[in-house]
């Protein structure tokens, strides 16, 4: 390649001076690698800890051109690090391992590694690694090439986009437009061959902020994941200085993420079926994952939503942990901690986990969504839309957002996956919110929405989800309320607050709906809203289902991998929530005053229930046994979910659905049974619903 040194920067003589960060816990190997790299005339920084590596990278994204990491490390899985780096910093990462199993290599590739080297590594191989930097840079700076603005002279540093750190330059914008016209569809992955000069151009990196990602997801969603092409997405997004290339590469990542989610979901489904035991760790994982995503999002600082952050993941977790009837306990304290941690600190690991999870089968083509309906029996595909939308939201998170929940769904087509993060996030939040609610903090909880809700499920949902205030938040909140309330806190609390606070009416609606599900009142509320809420409901339902499925999955799935579990937890909770909702709905219809409106909801909820049932068999939820839910099946389902989520922690407390917060039903049932909470809840719900409707109408 030709380097055109315009500056007297040693990096101009790329690949000489390429800045490499080497990570390996084995000092012998690390030392050896370092020497080899120096021999290739690269500038080397080494660390034997993945967390340190992340810290270094986060401090200054432009400090490095390439990362080489070992696969097996004690503090963090190499693949996780790989994903995080790819998502947050968009740097090329090369994996190193003494193990050359095809499966492992494949795993590296799916996680985004640009190369996989076997130990002992040879200098000849290292001499060529600079190509990855150039390749990435070239791709990113394709447009800059054309625009002529290329001011950044360069190439050498190899950073394909690392260059300016994060902001699109004007030139890109211009270039982009031109490019867009020229390249209609190539996108996404491709690399145009004609731009040789671009390789030497340094292109400023684009930071995919939450906002940006949301737009992106919205655009993709609008077009349909299958039909989304970078140029059109770019047009729809209408963001200045965003190039088609940026969009293309982002889309690529998003799809990858969805694919991953998809497979995870499938996996989860299987696992869920197989798992019968509520695995605390599992739940934990789910939550953790959620947190991670969450966290990651926060970490990246891009996505986050205030809600996200605020979601008291720790709070949630805390709640979860507190047996307080939440049942959410499913998340083991560790999970809680993690969540909390995740929230606050960029636990990269967490993020990773989450991401993974979220990757529900979202199959980026919306297949996930499709799956959902089927699984969930959502009638209207509109639901899917909601879901899909969520998925798009997740795009921002890209693979990271892992929906914890998604994985959980066995079939849930976990559309959640697609909607990915948003849904999950939301659901989680809701759940979490609920949890929080317990303390009657509802307002807060819901406010956060994504984060909060997730709390219950898996706070993990990445911020994109959070952004997704709509349904997600509400939904989750609602779900949470129901689920979480198992503690003494009546759903009332939950419902009240979240709804009111929720910006998005839709969300509120969802919340409400959720609550309704669990609550008789809810049902009625839901019904009353149908016309307007239709959408919301759909979304909610989707979410619910997703959540449910997730929850189920989560619970069922004995979480093998940290983040998977998290996802599962998330999903579990979702499931629970969904189930509860579902169960509630049916029950409510029977009992509830407003049978009519419920129909649609019931369907959805029922769908969820299906999931639950699946989960049921697996869980032996003690809580479940404990209280007899109004809707036995529903309850069971929810229990199951809850069980999965909370695992053990649930203590069937008299007042609340201690068992799993996940299932609204449980909560409701518990409540109902135990005391006359239901009435109380009903009242609250009604009020909220009213609010919601008001707000909703204004929004719509």
């Amino acid at each position: 390649m030709t380097v055109e040194p315009e500056m007297d920067d040693p990096r101009d003589h790329f690949p000489i001076g390429m800045r490499v960060l080497a990570v390996d816990d084995d000092p012998t190997c690390l030392f050896f690698l370092e020497t080899l790299l120096r021999r290739c005339q690269y500038h080397v920084t080494t660390t034997n800890q993945a967390v340190t590596a992340l810290k270094l990278l986060r401090e200054n994204k432009n400090k490095f051109d390439l990362v080489i990491s070992d696969v097996h490390m004690p503090d963090m899985d190499g693949f996780k690090l790989l994903e995080l780096v790819g998502l947050e910093m968009d740097l090329p990462v090369i994996m190193l391992s003494a193990n050359g199993d095809t499966k492992l290599v494949m795993k590296g590739i799916t996680h985004g590694a640009c190369d996989y080297l076997l130990k002992p590594v040879r200098i000849e191989e290292l001499k060529n690694i600079w190509q990855h930097v150039i390749r990435r840079k070239k791709f990113d700076s394709k447009d800059s090439n054309h625009s002529g603005n290329q001011d950044n002279p360069h190439s050498g540093s190899g950073e394909g986009g690392i260059g300016s750190a994060g902001t699109l330059s004007d030139q890109n914008g211009k270039l982009n437009k031109r490019r867009k016209d020229q390249n209609e569809d190539e996108e996404e992955e491709h690399d145009e061959d004609g731009h040789d000069d671009s390789s030497t151009q340094k292109k400023p990196r684009v930071v995919w902020s939450v906002e940006l990602h949301r737009k992106f997801v919205a655009a993709v969603h609008q077009m349909g994941i299958d039909k989304a092409v970078p140029k059109k997405i770019l047009d729809l997004m209408n963001v200045e200085k965003l190039t088609r290339e940026n969009v293309a590469s982002h889309l690529q990542k998003y799809r990858l993420y969805l694919k991953r989610l998809n497979s995870i979901v499938n996996q989860q489904a299987n696992m869920a079926a197989a798992l019968g035991s509520t695995d605390a760790s599992y739940l934990r994982m789910g939550s953790l994952s959620g947190l991670e995503n969450f966290h990651t999002l926060n970490g990246s600082g891009q996505f986050h939503n205030s809600a996200f952050r605020s979601f008291p993941s720790s709070g949630m977790l805390g709640r979860l942990n507190t047996p307080a009837g939440l049942g959410m306990r499913g998340l083991p304290s560790s999970g809680v901690t993690q969540l909390g941690h995740a929230q606050n600190s960029s636990s990269s690991t967490v993020d990773q986990v989450n991401f993974q999870q979220v990757m529900l089968p979202g199959s980026h083509n919306g297949s996930v969504l499709q799956g959902m309906p089927t699984a969930l029996e959502l009638d209207p595909l509109q639901h899917i839309k909601g879901v899909t939308h969520a998925r798009e939201l997740s795009t921002a998170i890209d693979n990271r957002t892992v929906f914890p929940i998604s994985s959980g769904f066995p079939d849930a087509k976990i559309t959640i996956g697609s909607s990915s993060n948003s849904l999950l996030g939301v659901t989680n939040n809701t759940l979490m919110l609920e949890q929080n609610r317990q303390g009657a903090q509802g307002g807060k909880v819901f406010g956060n929405q994504s984060s909060v809700s997730v709390a219950s499920l898996n706070s993990e949902f990445p911020s994109p989800l959070m952004d997704h205030n709509r349904l997600n938040d509400n939904w989750s909140t609602a779900a949470q309320s129901s689920g979480i309330h198992s503690n003494s806190f009546p759903l009332n609390d939950c419902f009240k607050q979240p709804i009111l606070h929720h910006n998005n009416l839709r969300d509120n609606m969802s919340t409400m709906a959720l609550r309704i599900g669990s609550n008789r009142c809810d049902v009625s509320s839901v019904t009353s809203m149908p016309p307007q809420l239709q959408d919301i409901r759909a979304d909610m339902q989707c979410q619910a289902s997703l959540i449910s499925s997730n929850a189920e999955q989560i619970s069922n799935h004995a979480p093998p991998q940290g983040w998977d579990d998290h996802n599962q937890d998330g999903s579990y909770r979702l499931n629970v929530m969904c189930s509860s909702i579902n169960s509630m709905i049916p029950v409510n219809s029977a009992v509830g005053p407003t049978g009519q409106g419920l129909e649609p909801k019931n369907t959805i909820f029922l769908a969820n229930m299906d999931f639950n049932s699946i989960g049921q068999s697996n869980f032996n939820d003690p809580l479940y046994m404990k209280y007899d839910l109004v809707n036995k099946s529903a309850a069971e389902a929810s229990l199951k979910l809850k069980q999965g989520l909370l695992m053990d922690q649930r203590k069937p407390q008299g007042n609340h659905i201690s068992s799993n917060f996940g299932s609204l039903e449980d909560i409701v049932s518990a409540m109902v049974k135990q005391n006359g909470l239901l009435d109380w809840i009903d009242d609250c719900l009604i009020q909220e619903l009213a609010h919601l409707l008001k707000g909703y109408s204004s929004i719509w």
């Binding site: 050896f32 003494a98 002992p120 200098i123």
Partner: protein, 152 residues
């Protein structure tokens, strides 16, 4: 003369490592990385290896004392240890490690324990040999004026 003799001795010693299968091509890679900027690179790497691997060996020993044996953990430890050994080109040690991992996969505790004894044995033998070798190298590359430095 003595110097030449020493040089020859070092060369012979070195060659024997390869001939007898103690070291492999990787060791040559290490040597190639040694230059003026890194005059003692090979020795440094080997020293680092012995220091770090003793800890890994301890881990495995401890893990082997557990009952029941956690093969996954054993395999993980061994994978790490094997990785290190590969980095310096310790051929025989590596072979024993591979054998150990086979036993782990098969869940053969007895085989694991036996093989690990072999691993440790080869490890110790190589260590001795390398120590002697580096001593020779150091002596040989010592100040040329003192070509006749007494050997320890």
């Amino acid at each position: 003369m003595e110097r030449n003799q020493m040089l020859r001795q070092v060369a012979v010693m070195r060659q024997s490592f390869f001939d007898q299968g103690f070291l492999d091509e990787q060791f040559v890679q290490l040597e190639e990385l040694q230059d003026d900027a890194n005059p003692n690179f090979v020795e440094e790497v080997v020293t680092l290896y012995y220091r770090d691997s003793s800890r890994q060996i301890l881990n495995i020993d401890q893990a082997l004392e557990r009952n029941p044996l956690d093969f996954n953990k054993l395999d993980t430890y061994m994978h790490q240890f094997k990785g290190s050994s590969t980095s310096i080109g310790a051929k025989k040690v590596k072979a024993e490690c591979t054998q150990f991992r086979e036993y782990c996969k098969a869940g053969n505790g007895e085989g694991c324990m036996r093989t690990f004894q072999q691993v440790k044995k080869e490890y110790a033998i190589l260590k001795r040999k390398l120590e002697a070798y580096f001593q020779q190298v150091r002596v040989q590359s010592g100040p040329s004026e003192t070509a006749c430095r007494p050997r320890n």
